[in-house]
């Protein structure tokens, strides 16, 4: 079992003008379920999503970036989006879950999800 850590709010210093900024709902970390993610890894900034039957090693691909065909000066592809995968927050949540998250403004909230709730950027 694994835990996906989702960024649920813009960080306090965020500069969204920068193309590589982490975006709201990005999957930013994968941890073993049960591991303390940190005292500040909680709502309203972070949401913890539990994925049954998958190990963190199996989910490491969720931390991949999206690469661009634009090459840098040594001919290597550059990064287009820092995070390829994000939580489909608006449409995939079961009835009532959205309200629960929105009302849970300060603290840990752990929800079970399936990988179909995680979407991929182009």
């Amino acid at each position: 079992m694994s835990a996906l850590i989702i960024l649920m709010a813009e960080p306090p210093n965020s500069n969204l003008a920068l193309p590589l900024s982490t975006k709201k709902y990005d999957v930013v970390e994968i941890l073993p379920d049960g591991m303390n993610p940190g005292e500040q890894v909680c709502l309203p900034i972070f949401l913890v999503l539990r994925v049954p039957d998958k190990t963190p090693q199996e989910l490491q691909y969720l931390k991949e970036p999206v690469m661009s065909p634009i090459l840098n000066v040594v001919g290597k592809p550059t990064v287009k989006h820092l995070h390829r995968f994000y939580y489909n927050y608006d449409s995939s949540l079961p009835s009532g879950t959205l309200d629960e998250i929105n009302s849970y403004s300060d603290g840990w909230l752990i929800k079970d999800i399936s990988l179909s709730d995680i979407k991929e950027r182009d």
């Binding site: 850590i5 960024l7 960080p11 306090p12 210093n13 965020s14 500069n15 920068l18 193309p19 590589l20 900024s21 982490t22 990005d26 930013v28 970390e29 941890l31 591991m35 303390n36 993610p37 940190g38 005292e39 500040q40 890894v41 900034i45 972070f46 931390k63 970036p65 690469m67 840098n72 000066v73 040594v74 290597k76 592809p77 550059t78 990064v79 820092l82």
Partner: protein, 339 residues
């Protein structure tokens, strides 16, 4: 004065369990807010992932810093009970600095960490970036366990300062590609000062840099080629030391014996020992980005007689110090100045 925010990172109930979480939570425009963002790493367990820095706006005053609190730091040689990374895998497993500036290059400082590397291409690079970033790496220890890897891969970075680090390879299989500090272009010259590097295929590799690096006060010994790659610009190099004939620049020492320099080569204690050729053979480089603080956090500016070569400063004023070493160094300095 910039406001510094310090957060703890570690697996035992710290602010953030991993650096990636801290990076995601704290990234942003530090210049607009006149901020410094600092992560302190705790030795709760071995770190197995670093992170990519992207989405920040920083400069030389408002920067990112990843450091280790004094109680959690190494003792100038590999220290098992203290903070450490074990990094294994493909390219980019270490720190990757992609976007920490906009029109101007930004700054990230990485210090006091221990890295154990297996089949990974470096602690710091700019993989997948356009190359505008400035990095300071200081007072770190990196050991390569086996297989292909590089200590610090300085690729596509800007005015980077690599200061007072100790890097070594446990093996001896020169057929494998591995380098202590690999400098690959770009933007402007990198500064590599007072590092100690031992046992790699290449110690410091000048890998076709567009701008020649400044290389001063470094020890590279026991490598297949100590100072390797393209020819170094001798006018930007001085006071280096090698066990082969490759140490570049004025006042450099060549064909020296490693066992005469270090406390315990077999066990990789690369502190200098009394009588070492490196004592007081360096040049005073001032205090830019903390080059004056050695691998034990001793301030070289406290020494009025001169600098040693390498990451460790053994020569110290006589009060409570090693007077024989001190006086021998003075004599050596006098001899050198008379020559």
């Amino acid at each position: 004065m910039a406001t510094e925010t310090i957060k703890s990172v570690g697996s035992s109930g710290r602010d953030y369990a991993t650096l990636a979480l801290w990076e995601a939570a704290r990234q942003g425009d530090l210049v607009a807010g006149n901020l410094i963002e600092t992560a302190e790493l705790y030795a709760d367990s071995i770190f197995t992932n670093c992170c990519t820095f992207a989405g920040w706006t920083t400069n030389d005053t408002n920067y990112i810093k990843v450091t280790v609190p004094a109680s959690q730091r190494h003792a100038g040689k590999w220290t098992a009970a203290k903070q450490q990374f074990y990094l294994e895998g493909g390219v980019g497993a270490g720190f990757n600095v992609l976007q920490i500036g906009t029109t101007n290059p930004g700054r990230v400082i990485l210090e006091w960490m221990q890295f154990s590397l297996y089949d990974t291409a470096g602690i710091v690079g700019n993989f997948g970036g356009l190359g505008l970033e400035d990095v300071t790496i200081r007072n770190c220890i990196a050991k390569k366990i086996d297989h292909w890897s590089e200590g610090f891969f300085i690729s596509l970075l800007g005015a980077s300062y690599i200061l007072n680090n100790t890097l070594y390879y446990l093996g001896g299989d020169y057929a494998q590609q591995h380098t202590g500090i690999d400098v690959v272009k770009y933007r402007t010259a990198n500064i590599i000062s007072n590092n100690t590097i031992y046992g790699f295929q290449s110690g410091i590799n000048n890998n076709g840099s567009s701008y020649q690096p400044y290389v001063k006060n470094n020890i590279c010994m026991g490598c297949a080629t100590d100072f390797a790659g393209s020819a170094f610009d001798a006018s930007r190099c001085s006071n280096n030391m090698s066990s082969d004939a490759t140490a570049p620049g004025a006042n450099s020492l060549t064909s020296k014996t490693a066992s005469n320099q270090f406390v315990d080569v077999a066990n990789f204690d690369l502190h200098l020992k009394a009588g070492a050729d490196a004592l007081l053979a360096g040049v005073d480089l001032g205090n830019t980005w903390g080059v004056n603080n050695d691998i034990d956090n001793y301030d070289r500016d406290a020494v009025t007689v001169g600098w040693d070569i390498g990451s460790h400063q053994l020569s110290r004023p006589a009060a409570g110090g090693d007077f024989k070493t001190f006086s021998r160094g003075v004599c050596r300095g006098v001899r050198r100045s008379m020559a």
